[in-house]
Amino acid sequence: MCLLITLLAAVTTTIVWYVQAPNNLYRVSTLCFMYWGASLMWLVDGFFCIAEGEPFLEFSSGDALLGFTVVLCGLAAWVIILLYNDPKNVFKPFRKSSPQK
């Protein structure tokens, strides 16, 4: 379930990126790469599970909750990166203001 939810997030963010492309002001591409990277890694993990006789996907509520938590953490990391880079210079007035002597 975790892989499926992360794949869904990867596909959704890729669509959002393409709709906005070539404009990448909000760094949606970074979020896309994050989810695709995790999806590829979990895909490998799934194949190794099959090799060990375990099922490829685990359909449990715990794994689904993990999937949503992972997507949320990815979004949180993207927001932090976005705010740090500040592409719209929202924090510029606060950075420029110097203390009055």
Partner: protein, 138 residues
């Protein structure tokens, strides 16, 4: 158990390579502007620093989210020795085997997908450059 450490190692190495490529490209731009040489984007293609940023984003993103999963399952903790498998000597060898097999396979697959992405992107860029160049000549 700690399979994400292999892609993390590759991510660190590729980040260092990317930074050095960015410095070289910046120096090349400065040199071109000083000598007055034309910066032919059509021939130069997509900068390697940008291509490497795709790979590092894939790797770091995957490592970060897999680390979340390992914390969820109790395999990684925020205090030393950080990997719970290190507490039991019997678990160390299986952990190292997992890093070598699963972790390395993850790093290889991500790198292969990135290589395909680079080839496709270069092909699209060259095709666009040819179309633009032909339109300018007309």
């Amino acid at each position: 158990m700690a399979c994400f450490l292999a892609p993390a190692a590759e991510a660190i190495v590729m980040t260092i390579v990317k930074k050095s490529m960015e410095k070289k490209e910046a120096q090349k731009v400065v040199l071109n502007s000083e000598t007055g040489a034309s910066d032919n984007h059509a021939e130069a293609g997509i900068p390697w620093s940008r291509k490497l940023s795709w790979l590092t984003n894939l790797l770091w993103g995957g490592v970060f989210l897999l680390a979340i999963e390992h914390i969820w399952h109790g395999e990684v903790v925020p205090w030393p020795p950080f990997l719970t498998a290190m507490n039991n000597p019997a678990d160390i060898m299986p952990m190292l085997q997992e890093i070598a097999s699963v972790g390395t396979s993850m790093a290889i697959l991500v790198t292969l997908v990135w290589a395909v992405l680079v080839i496709v992107a270069d092909h699209i860029y060259k095709r666009k450059s040819v179309v633009v160049h032909a339109a300018q000549e007309e």
